[in-house]
């Protein structure tokens, strides 16, 4: 008789990027779309979920007791130069895609702060980048996608097809709970060079950062501010830019204007005691990061990795937070509630939550997806170690402010908000659930995030 307690070879403990709250799942590695469909059809009572590169910070890409379909083995990439589009398997990463398309003169329409995300994950989380204020989020650049629904059947969804557009937008930002995305066609951005032309300003305080962003962001395709989370002033570094044109390159650079290489540094140590990352080391890092940027520089030429993905050079940097893991608190609030940015920084300081990476950005208009995170206003993202005492109550207090001002939190970063917070801040949740129930009537798609938040 086989033991119901036995742990099998394909059992894996999964967490998100924050390395908190693991759960076990049976992981399968499909060789083709049929394998994906059969995983859906044979899903047990605990359900099934697709997983990409696991860059969601919390529990979005894990599902205790379920079958988790590791999509990263499916990464075919077809570039259509004439149409300026890309058709890829959902398991292809932005990293793999950039290696193909940058030398051919194209860029992805939206990239997050890491290129180690899959296309499926980018759609499911409806990721945003430094260009959201002008170009929106990832889902807005998807022309068509192929999804395996809850019955294991293939559906082709497109935003301009009245038959499928509702399902398309429920899948954009749907956190993998409407079906498994297996393929997508996305619109690309033509570029003349692989370099970025960047303007950098060091700002003495938070007011200066925010007013410069309000005044000037519209003049730039890309804009983001890094905030010193330790300094009392809330000083920061504002970096904005666009893809460089050929004429902006030096003769040496112009020899190979579309050259693309990704530097890599050694990975972070695999074991760091929780105590090493303390306010002193974070203070030192923040000081150094502020100083390393020029006071004011216009039109500096940067590479794509250094401008978009600076942390990708350090493999496994999430380990610096030690065994208790970390989380990222990211909210969006309307312009009228910009004061919550300052309040958040000061409350996190109060509990001694050291943050290396605190990033502020302005969002443009929302898209039609009911669960998409971005909406016009300010978005702040701060990394915080999970082991800090009193962090829970302080974040709950900030949640309350965010919710009462009409803001909300980002599912791809969340690992601790309450179900009532979601119900309150995503007013179209019911509408999304109705479409989800049509695509997955038996509820086979499950995730720990979905269970925790009653999605």
């Amino acid at each position: 008789m086989s033991s119901p307690l036995a742990v099998h070879d394909d059992d894996h403990l999964l967490t998100g990027w924050g390395r908190t709250a693991p759960s076990r799942a049976t992981v399968t590695t499909p060789a083709n779309y049929d394998d994906v469909a059969s995983s859906v059809r044979s899903a047990g009572a605990r359900g099934v979920l697709a997983r990409g590169l696991g860059r969601s910070y919390g529990d979005a890409a894990q599902s205790g007791g379920a079958t988790v379909v590791d999509m990263t083995g499916l990464h075919r990439i077809d570039l259509d130069v004439a149409a300026e589009t890309l058709t890829t398997d959902a398991g292809a990463s932005v990293d793999q895609i950039l290696r193909v398309i940058v030398p051919a003169g194209f860029f992805v329409p939206v990239t997050a702060g890491t290129r180690f995300v899959t296309v499926g994950g980018a759609i499911a989380a409806d990721i945003h980048g430094k260009n959201h204020h002008g170009e929106g989020s990832f889902g807005q650049h998807v022309l068509r996608m192929t999804v395996i629904d809850g019955a294991g059947d293939v559906r082709v969804l497109a935003p301009d097809d009245p038959e499928t557009s509702e399902m398309f937008w429920a899948t954009v930002g749907g956190m993998g709970l409407t079906g498994i995305i297996v393929e997508a066609t996305i619109r690309l951005l033509p570029i003349e060079t692989s370099r970025m032309s960047v303007d950098t300003v060091r700002c003495p305080d938070l007011d200066d950062v925010m007013s410069r962003m309000i005044e000037g962001d519209d003049d730039y395709r890309y804009s983001v501010a890094w905030i010193d989370s330790v300094a009392a002033s809330g000083r920061g570094v504002l970096t904005r830019g666009d893809h460089a044109e050929r004429t902006q390159l030096t003769d040496k650079e112009a020899v190979d204007p579309l050259a693309y290489a990704t530097p890599s540094l050694p990975s972070a140590p695999s074991f760091i005691p929780n105590g090493l990352l303390n306010s002193a080391s974070v203070r030192a890092f923040n000081e150094a990061w502020f100083r390393k940027h020029p006071k004011n520089r216009i039109g500096e030429i940067h590479s794509i990795p250094s401008f978009f993905h600076p942390l990708d050079g350090v493999r496994d940097w999430n380990r610096v937070y030690g065994p208790q893991g970390f989380l990222q608190y990211q909210f969006v609030v309307p312009d009228s509630a910009g004061w919550i940015v300052e309040r958040t920084l000061s409350r996190l300081k109060d509990v001694g939550a050291p943050s290396f990476l605190t990033v502020l950005k302005r969002f443009g208009p929302a898209n039609p997806a009911p669960l998409s995170f971005p909406q016009p206003g300010w978005t702040l993202a701060a990394d915080v170690p999970a082991g800090i005492d009193e962090l829970g109550p302080v974040l709950d207090e900030l949640d309350e402010l965010v919710a009462s001002e009409g803001g909300r939190l980002y599912f791809a970063k969340d690992s601790r908000q309450s179900p009532s917070m979601v119900a309150r801040t995503y007013p179209r949740l019911g509408e999304w659930q109705a479409v989800r129930d049509r695509m997955d009537p038996k509820g086979v798609f499950t995730s720990d995030l979905g269970r925790r938040l009653s999605l």
């Binding site: 119901p4 307690l5 742990v7 059992d11 403990l13 924050g18 908190t20 709250a21 693991p22 759960s23 076990r24 799942a25 605990r46 919390g58 529990d59 599902s63 205790g64 007791g65 379920a66 893991g325 989380l327 999970a386 962090l391 829970g392 109550p393 974040l395 709950d396 690992s415 601790r416 309450s418 720990d448 269970r451 925790r452």
Partner: protein, 252 residues
């Protein structure tokens, strides 16, 4: 689901009127707690516990009938509870102390202590473990006792059941490594509860609140064994090292 900050959403107590379990729930972070199941034999104590937890703002507090000695009922009982939703923390807190002299005079009384504390715990523990493994996450907290660390003349029947339970829980914890579920073995010393009412106090006697806090901290840190209060670990190391002829003569 337990969130990134260690906040649970659901708790099952086996031995629902247990004061230590009650104190553990009080000590847990509770802002996300939405379902507590108190399981035990019907009693005023369990109803009171449910009432007061409900009044403290937990949205759903259920009382379920559970009899440790009725092992045939355990499978259906555990499945019923888990079928209504994942359980993040199971606290196994039932047990009887019995009276050593009575047990020696009437061995059937010893059998009862063994059936509740050991046989019943093994039975329900395995069913719980099966469901925790299936759901891929969750903690089983087993209330053992320092009485199981070393048999004493004055309560060796009780002590032996806890020794057996302790060994069972350790092995179960090892079996579940990699399953997403885990077992926390808790070894309290003497605790001021109904069970110990009227007995002379042993060294390091403590209150249920202290044990509750120790359990919550151990869960947060992912420990597999903990004494309550913590320093009892050192005392018991010393106690275990005492040779039997000497130990026998110590005041019991």
């Amino acid at each position: 689901m337990i969130d990134a900050l260690g906040e649970p959403q659901s708790v099952l107590v086996l031995g629902g009127s247990s004061e230590i379990a009650r104190a553990t729930i009080e000590a847990l972070p509770r802002t996300r707690l939405r379902r507590v199941v108190l399981a035990g034999r019907p009693s005023a104590a369990i109803d009171d516990a449910a009432m007061s937890l409900g009044n403290s703002g937990i949205p759903t507090v259920e009382v379920a009938t559970f009899d440790a000695t009725d092992t045939d009922s355990h499978e259906a009982f555990v499945d019923d509870v888990f079928d209504d939703g994942d359980i993040d923390i199971v606290i196994m807190a039932f047990g009887v102390l019995g009276d050593q002299m009575d047990a020696e005079a009437d061995p059937s009384k010893a059998v009862h202590v063994a059936t509740v504390n050991y046989t019943g715990a093994v039975s329900v523990g395995l069913h719980v473990a099966r469901r925790l493994r299936q759901q891929g996450h969750g903690h089983l907290v087993v209330l053992s006792s320092v009485a199981g660390d070393r048999a004493r003349r004055s309560n060796y029947v009780y002590g032996s059941t806890k020794a057996g339970l302790d060994a069972f829980a350790q092995g179960l914890g090892d079996a579940l490594v990699g399953s997403g579920a885990s077992v926390l073995v808790v070894r309290p010393g003497m605790v001021r509860t109904r069970m110990s009412d009227g007995l002379p106090e042993a060294p390091m006697t403590t209150d249920p609140e202290v044990v509750g806090k120790v359990i919550v901290q151990a869960l947060r840190k992912g420990k597999h064994t903990v004494y309550a209060p913590g320093p009892l670990r050192f005392l018991m190391t010393a106690v275990k090292a005492v040779p039997r002829p000497v130990f026998r003569k110590l005041p019991q």
